[in-house]
Amino acid sequence: MAIETLVLGAGQEVGKSCVVVNINGKRIMFDCGMHMGVSDHRRYPNFSLISPTGDFDTALSCIIITHLYCINTLFLRFHYFLIIKISHSLILYSYIFFFGIICDSHLDHLGALVYFTEVCGFHGPIYMTVLIYSTVRWVEPNKHCHLNSICTINIPKQGNHHVHSIHSHQLSKTIRIIACIFLYPTKALAPLMLEDYRKVLVERRGEEEQFNSDHIAECMKKVIAVDLRQTIQVDKDLQIRAYYAGHFTLFEYLTLILKVLGAAMFHAKVGDSEMVYTGDYNMTPDRHLGAAQIDRLRLDLLITESTYGTTIRDSKYAREREFLDAVHKCVSAGGKVLIPTFGLGRAQELCILMDDYWERMNLKVPIYFSAGLTKQANVYYKMLINWTSQKIKDSYPTNNAFDFKNVCKYERSVLDTPGPCVLFASPGMISGGLSLEVFKRWAPFENTLVALPGYCLPGTVGHVLMSKPPKIELDPNTKIDVRCQVHQLAFSPHTDSKGIMDLIKFLSPKHVILVHGEKPKMVSLKEKIHSEMGIPCYHPANNETVSVPSTVYVKAQASDAFMERCLKPNFKLHKCSSQELSIKTLTDKNIVPELQVINEKAVFIVEDKSKKLKVVHNDEVLVMLGEKKTED
């Protein structure tokens, strides 16, 4: 028997993850992504390779999507949505930006799902990780008043004038969507995203509609939620299990905006064959998210991503240290620190870092959070406690790590208050909004520090700032003197080649297949895996099939005598000299009652007349042989 892996997407490339594995007769599709870089038929995986006839229901047992939809995204979306309605000049930019995120980070893994299920016609089960169920429960008691409670989260804490000017019909839409999230996390989030995507494709790009809203809704009905470490019996033979995979994003420049909470690794077992599909994962823990966790399994196959197959990342502690030093130095000199950041993810991490530091150093300088969104993000982190790191879990019962002690709400008066302070303001690239406003005011002072926590897109103030110009021209009428200091915080949270190697070493599978990476990197990683661990490794291109042998256990009957002996340890003891002892320890073996471990010294496999295998003890062999002799 063999495990056949058909790579439909992400083979020697990045994007449209889609792998179909035929394992002991069961076919599982892992991820169903679409390629965002192209707009023709190559955007979707070539599903016809699964079944030329288009009968996918019989050809596939199930689809497993390794990504949980990111809540952060949704909120970002609101943020911009609101802005759109208020200040017209900002609409376009923010909007584009937002969709860029969605496309690249998520649809990569599930963009083609609706297409596949609805257009191509797959009716089998789809598995996804979801938010923990407690999330739902958290809201459920308030089912009737949740609309109000959500409003109170959303509106009063927003703290700025933008929210108040939302029109009523928009407000109700906002609330409706939020309510969806609370009540049906998986089903609510995915269609929203897909819907957005559809709109973008259709409305903005003017492309032909490939699926409609109804399709999305239909598709979502097929999705079955999987919790972490929950084992699901898909059918009699197939069993799947999700493991926590740490956090990551796909593209470096996106990380400052988004972090995908809790992607999962999936373990699938059919009969005696086992395999793991990792999706994306991270082996290095973060301040607010832990490292991937998985059991040691007896794997035949491991399919792992290899985006950073050749990179080895250094400790980020040193960078954190520099950042803290810079901030501390600035505030102790009475300066103001501006940290332009998006409300979530990265901001959380920096916030934890600084809050700890403030606590330790007994600093009294205020830290302000500009966006109400950040506060909401904290509410969500509180709910998502299972997905966070040990630190946060440790402190959860007493003080939630996201209840920052030293962080207070931003008010406009802060801008002109003299004295040192630290301000987290969005958006992250100083492209507009509060961070730009603050930047305009503070930049001309020498004791101000602007800490850029990540990559800035070209064309944004943040990008210009990195080259430390004396002046920045916003538009022909506005010029800003830049005398402030600039500190750039390099950031890269994706798993590196060391992480991949460590995971492979820990799992020690019999075969490894690399997907989701650039070809040269895959090749070098493949060589490394092969030479260092002696594990055969493959890097198939799209639409190629790799076949690896699978473990099959032969069923055999065991005689009673054998079973009896198996229950006892059967090594014998001699009173002998130490030298003999040492020899004995090397040769000494006892039988393990699992049949596949056959100790030739003690066990014989006999094929009897009925052509059935039988395991007997060597004592019995003599008897049987004797019988045979008499028969003959």
Partner: protein
């Protein structure tokens, strides 16, 4: 059985009780063992109560015990576990019965072993619980249990083997090795744990055994069960180290292997495994530098020189192990990493520097435990001299001093104490941080002061730089010109007064600082508690602050006799004595006194004062004879010294010394003689010790300080011998001079000695003197002296040209002369008493004014042309000398007496202080260097008496 029913009767009530009593009676009569009923649940409970009740009479307890033992034999097996539990409880509450219980259980055990079952284990468990020591189990029982079909039985045995159950290691080892292949994970785990225990206590001589176990551990590192992997890591760490220590040649190789093996599991998904790995790494004794460096870098290092084959193989396993540990999500792991760095940093200096970078990052950790551990590690590094904080680290490190966890702050300060700062700026910022700390954490005051005092002591040069600033600030605030911040003042004072501490040379700290510091005495004394107590600190402060009054007050040194002239006089005196020399012809035969006799005599003489004066001559002669008897023996033991049996010699010397000290006299000639002999012996003893050191050069390394100390002592004693005794015969004089020459030679023998020329000069003087003596007596110089003479003549321009080897040769020629002493020897000594002075009745003084110290002085055997001084000093600091005019003394024979009010000029601004007073005589022998430039004695003082402490207190 009668007991049994009797007992039951006690507990059953009513009818039941009666019935039981009847039955008891019956059993007593019939003695039928079969008729016993099983004990009911109720009875168990009541028995339990009785056992736990401390007031239960002993007889009841013992009858309960008998009943239990009895029922154990006769009741069905289902009851046994309860009975056994009761027995165990009983013996823990009544230890007197424990041994009995043990014996009876042990006797029952063999019946139960075949086949081993749960019951056997229960028996063994009870046995183990009762016995305080591990129970020994014989081999057959052990093997039968270990091979038993029942899983819990095996588990129990493995779990307890090696700790509570003793089995021969030779047997235990193969059984455990077999057990590591068990299908049950918990059995594998327990087997590995037992192997760890075994490895800790047993010694294996066979390499293959150890290797086998290590390899088994390595295999199980990839076990599917977390618990097995944890134990496997421990096995690998322990047995791997054992394996490495087998052979010195391959030690590095195997240690590296083990290190890499442990590092390879550092990314295990289980937190406990990772913790265990780092614990294991912390035990490494030796690891090659390359691998250590590799563990700090995730990339495989490219080495400058061609890497060893082993490194190439292991590098990828080791890569970044420690970095991963530090980045770990769980604080337990991070803490464990810091702990392991503690030992690892000691292994290589280069690694220590690199690891410091890592540790500095850890200082940002959010967990107090981790930060604390990191600092402890750095402290450990500092102790081992591998901590070098560069400037960029210093900044971060100083932040830690402000940490809000007191543990962390204390730990950080511990490091500051040991630090040597490179430049002034760092020192200043450290100081500032500490002062700031004082404001924010007033509860740490004592510790901060202590740190400041260390800082000051270690960085005198930097303190000097800011001394004036501090002085200005202190003065300003004391005078009220500035806001008075007492904590800050105290801290600044601590810093400044600690700088000149232990540094004798003059420093720019204004003396007024010291007097300010004195006002904070109680607050700051704890800062110096490691070196001095409160009183000594006070004295130190007084002494330092008093030096603000210029030392002009030195007493006029009288007539200022020319020391050279004095020397001449002395020489003349010596010559005269030579003329009046009476040769004593004393052979061996004249010393028939056995030691026994002498001791008898000594005993008789014990109450010497009661014995009338007329008896003295007799005793004198006896004592003299005895002293001579001892002295005569000296040359005989010399060969032993040369043949390196110093211990023997020292032993007999000590013995003689004891005998000599047992002879006590009042002022009389024999006393002087014995004092001389005692000193002589002391010198010989020191010579022998030093000799021993020099000859056995191997030990010199370890005992350099000790040797230096001894040489110093020897020097002092030699001076004493020369200066405090007069009335030598020529022969005695020569012996003494030779001895002194010997001490110098010994000093010069040490090639590393610093003031060589100076010593050589002094030696030349002594030599010339010896020579003149010899000439006068027209004696032939001994081989030693002659050789020394030729050496000195050869290198007339100073001793530097002479190699220590030449002196070594001289030493070989030395042998002590036979020395006979006569009554003529006089001991110069003085008695000093200050009447009416004790801590409770101090003498009065007014600060700034001269205080008078009334002294009653008696001096013996000192002629009026000697120059005597009273020396007064405040604790190990400033000294004032007052000249004693011997002419003004009241003379009676050789004894002079005077009652003299000694003036003390530099009285400090304090409520009270102590003076150490004593009498000294100018040494006229070796005036090579003038001791003090202004006033005071011209030559070194030889102290004639013990120092007396004078207590003074301010007049109110």
């Amino acid at each position: 059985k009668g007991d049994y029913y009797q007992y039951l009767a006690k507990f059953k009530c009513g009818d039941e009780r009666k019935e039981a009593a009847d039955q008891s009676m019956k059993t007593y009569q019939n003695n039928t063992p079969e008729s016993i009923q099983p004990i009911s649940m109720q009875t168990f409970t009541s028995m339990m109560n009785e056992i736990l009740n401390p007031s239960t009479p002993k007889s009841t307890v013992s009858s309960i015990f008998k009943t239990l033992i009895h029922s154990l034999l006769h009741s069905p097996e289902s009851h046994h576990s309860q009975i056994l539990k009761l027995i165990a409880d009983l013996s823990s509450h009544h230890p007197s019965l424990a041994q009995l219980a043990l014996d009876s259980l042990q006797s029952m055990l063999p019946q139960l072993t075949d086949p081993p079952s749960q019951l056997t284990i229960e028996y063994l468990d009870a046995l183990v619980n009762i016995s305080e020591r591990p129970v020994e189990v014989d081999d057959s029982l052990f093997t039968s249990i270990c091979l038993a079909a029942s899983f819990p039985v095996r588990l129990w045995m493995v779990r307890n083997s090696g700790c509570r159950v003793m089995v021969r290691p030779e047997l235990l080892y193969p059984v455990l090795m077999g057990m590591t292949k068990e299908p049950y994970p918990c059995l594998r785990e327990e087997a590995l744990e037992a192997l760890v225990r075994l490895g800790e206590c047993a010694v294996f001589e066979e390499v293959s055994l150890v290797k086998g176990c290590y390899e088994r551990g390595v295999q199980l590192l990839s076990d599917n069960e977390d618990c097995v992997r944890i134990s496997a890591v421990r096995v690998v760490a322990l047995w791997g180290l054992m394996l490495a220590s087998f052979n010195v040649d391959t030690k590095t190789y195997w240690s590296n292997e083990v290190f890499a093996m442990l590092c390879s599991v550092v990314r295990d998904m289980n937190m406990k495994v990772r913790v265990e790995v780092f614990n294991g790494l912390g035990k490494m004794e030796i690891v090659s530098k390359e691998l250590l460096m590799q563990s700090l870098s995730k990339r495989v290092l490219v080495l400058d020189q061609s890497p060893t084959e082993q490194f190439v193989l292991l590098a990828s396993n080791v890569a970044g192990a420690l970095v991963h540990g530090v980045e770990d999500e769980f604080f337990e792991v991070r803490k464990s990493v810091c702990q392991s760095l503690r030992t690892l940093t000691v292994l290589s200096v280069e690694f220590a520097h690199a690891a410091l970078n890592l540790l500095m990052d850890v200082l940002n950790d959010y967990k107090v435990e981790v930060r604390f551990q990191a600092l402890e590690t750095m402290h450990h590094m500092a102790i081992n001299h591998c901590l070098e904080l560069q400037e960029n680290y210093m900044h971060k490190f100083l932040d830690v001093l402000e940490d809000n966890s007191s543990e962390v702050r204390f730990s950080a300060r511990k490091i500051v104490r040991l630090m040597k700062l490179r430049n002034h700026l760092l020192f200043k910022s450290t100081m500032d941080v500490l002062l700031k700390n004082l404001d924010s954490y007033p509860q740490d005051e004592a510790d901060i002061f202590s740190v400041l005092s260390h800082l000051g002591r270690n960085h005198k040069q930097f303190v000097d730089l800011i001394a004036n600033e501090i002085a200005d600030e202190v003065e300003a605030s004391f005078e009220g010109n500035r806001e008075f911040n007492s904590a800050r003042m105290a801290a600044l004072l601590v810093l400044s007064i600690s700088a000149p501490f232990l540094n004798a040379d003059v420093c720019p700290i204004p003396p007024v600082i010291f007097s300010f510091a004195a006002t904070f005495l109680s607050r700051i004394c704890c800062a110096f508690s490691d070196v001095m107590n409160r009183d000594t600190l006070l004295e130190y402060l007084i002494q330092k602050s008093s030096s603000m009054v210029q030392p002009e007050v030195n007493i006029s040194n009288g007539e200022g006799q020319n020391p050279l002239a004095k020397d001449d006089v002395q020489n003349v005196a010596g010559n005269e004595m030579i003329h009046s020399e009476i040769t004593i012809n004393n052979g061996e035969g004249q010393l028939p006194l056995s030691k026994y006799n002498v001791q008898n005599v000594a005993l008789e003489m014990k109450p010497p004062n009661d014995v009338g004066q007329h008896k003295r001559p007799v005793h004198d002669s006896v004592v003299l004879t005895y002293i001579n008897y001892i002295l005569v023996k000296l040359p005989n033991i010399w060969p032993k010294v040369q043949s390196c049996s110093a211990n023997e010699v020292l032993c007999s010397l000590r013995h003689w010394k004891e005998e000599l000290t047992s002879l006590t006299f009042d002022s009389s000639a024999p006393a002087d003689a014995s004092a001389f002999a005692l000193l002589y012996l002391k010198i010989i003893k020191l010579v022998v010790e030093v000799w021993d050191h020099l000859v056995r050069k191997t030990e010199v390394v370890s005992g350099t300080v000790e040797l230096e100390d001894k040489l110093e002592k020897l020097d002092g004693r030699a001076k004493e011998l020369m200066n405090r005794f007069i009335g030598f015969s020529a022969e005695e004089e020569i012996s003494v001079l030779e001895l002194i020459l010997l001490t110098y030679t010994l000093r010069l023998c040490r090639s590393e000695i610093c003031s060589r020329n100076f010593i050589f000069k002094r030696m030349t003087i002594i030599y010339l003197r010896t020579e003149s003596f010899l000439k006068l007596r027209s004696d032939v110089a001994s081989g030693f002296v002659a050789e020394l003479g030729s050496l000195i003549r050869e290198s007339s321009n100073g001793g530097a040209s002479c190699s220590s080897l030449a002196f070594d040769n001289c030493l070989k020629l030395f042998s002590p002369k036979r020395l006979m002493i006569r009554e003529g020897i006089r001991h110069r000594r003085a008695e000093l008493s200050i009447p009416n002075n004790c801590p409770d009745y101090p003498l009065p003084f007014a600060p700034g004014l001269t205080a008078s110290i009334p002294c009653d002085i008696t001096i013996h055997n000192i002629s009026s042309n000697c120059r005597a001084w009273v020396r007064m000093c405040i604790n190990d600091g400033f000294t004032q000398h007052v000249y004693l005019d011997l002419q003004s003394f009241e003379v009676s024979g050789e004894v002079r007496k005077i009652s003299y009010a000694v003036p003390y000029y530099r009285t400090p601004e304090l409520d009270s202080f102590n003076l150490k007073v004593c009498i000294g005589l100018e040494s006229l022998f070796e005036n090579v260097t003038p001791v003090q430039a202004h006033g005071g004695p011209k030559c070194e003082l030889v102290l004639l008496c013990e120092e007396k402490i004078v207590y003074l207190s301010r007049v109110l």
